[in-house]
Amino acid sequence: MAIEHADVLRAAHLARLGINSDAEAAGYVDDLSRILEMVDRLQAVDTQGIEPLSHPLDTTQRLRADEVTEENQRERFQACAPATAEGLYLVPRVVE
């Protein structure tokens, strides 16, 4: 399946990844086209009736008991944040 300029821009928007120029987007179109051409070999395989394998040990994720185990460490975890105020993360204004 070919990938077009618009597909790259759509993926970049979904991934919130800035693309600065048409030339940069064109570079990704070329690279991604080659990768998808290789990936398209999968389409030749008959996988009718085969269950997808999402976990290499073919098991399900275990769940833990719904219990509070962690204490509040807000200050410690916010120490590496770019900008905080009053225990909150600061971002540009969203609601006018």
Partner: protein, 488 residues
């Protein structure tokens, strides 16, 4: 001391031949003297290392008998280390000082080991040459015009260069085994779930696995014993008893059934690599093993399946880097959308962006079934190939990589780089363990060649035994590059 194995250093410490401070100082000085050009470390934690060495010496004087106490090692910069920068080879995390330790780091500290610092790597573990690092490429200690492999290239090169007797790496598609092969060291990717991923920065969560890199299988057995085990903080960690990996090392190999996958010896395999691997298999035959050919018929689909599954998982995992809570943030964002887009565009390198875009595209509406679901179905076929092969044989053997280490800058096209992992990627898709051991050198420029040995799920003890017996019969793992005779 810099050429001794972890096992030999442990004996030396125990016998009082040298102290942990003397050993640690010697290695730190060697790093300072020789790593300027090799670039194997991103961060060297000299003060913390010496403090830990002193603590280990004092504990030993009080009767501490922990087998790994006072031994130095290095950590791939993908493992979170409290109070120390954890960059993952990326500008995105260049300023990130982790507030917590990865489980394996906690375990190694509990065992008394001394961390020398954090090793260089391909950004977010995406690469096969260590050329995708924000901190610059790593050079192969055997030939500085060659790559060390990747993504754990810094760990492999640091062990090969004698900067550390051992290091931790991670392996998503061959990132322990291929650099181990390129640098002439021993590297083990354990079974998926054997080693906790808590605090190991995620690339592709259903494939990633941490493991040891060292001078010998025996050293890897020591390290695996220290880091393996169930961790409640990692929901994919497996609740199984950790065996004594040292106990089986000396088991004779008479009657061992070795399978050679015919798909691993076809077109694209460098003749010198094939020669070295076949000579290594000859050594096994002389040790009493039986060899036969097997087939892994879906091998040719491993790279295509991987390059759907891994980028898809990566696109999800890397969505956490948004410029809000940690990591790189762009200057003066106009609004929230601009903050996200510019922070990520500035913080990620080209290969990471490529994989995010591929993963986002293949997971997006209208493409999911054709790509992701299909790749997961093929993944089951690949896994079944291995299960069928292990009905016939005990272990599989073949090359770790199709060529010896290639030149820095040689592979400009992403797909040609991806093909480097043809013999390693399927193992991650299947979740089985694999180990690469030094098995010779190429004639041109003396670049190391690795033999890869694969086992059934959770058969690490057997793999280590099989690798150790080879190393008892050969001395490839005892060779060292001669850095000291050069002006670096």
């Amino acid at each position: 001391m810099h050429e001794m194995t972890l096992t030999e250093l442990a004996k030396g410490l125990k016998a009082g031949d040298f102290s942990s401070r003397e050993l640690t100082t010697s290695l730190l000085d060697r790093i300072e003297r020789l790593d300027g050009e090799l670039n194997t470390f991103i961060t060297v934690t000299r003060d913390q290392a010496l403090a830990a060495a002193d603590a280990a010496d004092q504990a030993r004087a009080r009767g501490d008998e922990r087998p790994l106490a006072g031994l130095p090692l290095a950590l791939k910069d993908i493992f979170c280390t409290r109070g120390v920068r954890t960059s993952c080879g990326s500008k995105m995390l260049d300023n990130f000082v982790s507030p917590y330790d990865a489980t394996v780091v906690e375990k190694l500290e509990a065992a008394g080991m001394v961390s020398l610092g954090k090793t260089n790597m391909d950004e977010f573990a995406m690469g096969s040459s260590n050329e995708n690092s924000f901190y610059g490429a790593v050079k192969n200690p055997w030939d500085k015009s060659a790559v060390p492999g990747g993504s754990s290239g810094g760990s492999a090169a640091a062990v090969a260069a004698g900067f550390t007797p051992a290091a931790l790496g991670t392996d998503t598609g061959g990132s322990i085994r291929q650099p181990a092969a390129f640098c002439g060291v021993t590297g083990l990717k354990p079974t998926y779930g054997r080693v906790s991923r808590y605090g190991m920065i995620a690339y592709a969560s259903s494939l990633d696995q941490g493991g040891p890199m060292a001078r010998s299988a025996e050293d890897c057995a020591h390290l695996l014993g220290a880091i393996a085990g169930h961790d409640l903080r990692d929901s994919t960690s497996v609740a199984r008893v950790v065996p004594d990996y040292l106990a089986e090392l000396d088991t004779p190999l008479a009657g061992l059934k070795i399978g050679l996958p015919k798909e691993y010896f076809g077109d694209g395999l460098d003749p010198e690599v094939e020669r070295a691997v076949r000579e290594a298999i000859g050594v096994y035959e002389s040790l009493g093993a039986k060899v036969c050919e097997v087939s892994l018929p879906h091998t040719h689909l491993a790279i295509p399946a991987y390059y759907v599954i891994a980028p898809a998982e990566a696109s999800s995992n890397l969505s956490r880097y948004d410029g809000v809570r940690f990591g790189h943030r762009c200057n003066a964002p106009a609004d929230l959308e601009d903050l996200y887009k510019r922070s990520r565009a500035e913080g990620f390198g080209d290969e990471v962006k490529r994989r995010i875009l591929i993963g986002t595209h293949t997971l997006s509406e209208g493409f999911f079934d054709a790509y992701y679901r299909k790749a997961q179905q093929v993944r089951r076929l690949i896994r079944q190939d291995f299960l069928d092969a292990f009905d016939e044989v005990d272990v599989l053997m073949g090359p770790a990589a199709p060529t010896p280490a290639f030149d820095l800058g040689a592979k400009k096209d992403p797909v040609s780089m991806y093909l480097q992992d043809i013999y390693t990627i399927a193992i991650n898709l299947a979740g089985i363990p694999g180990i690469s051991v030094p098995a010779g050198f190429s004639g041109q420029g003396q670049r190391p060649i690795g033999l890869q040995i694969l086992g059934q799920h959770f058969a690490e003890a057997q793999l280590l035994n099989v690798a150790h017996q080879f190393q008892q019969a050969t001395d490839w793992h005892r060779r060292h590059p001669s850095l000291d005779q050069e002006t670096i």
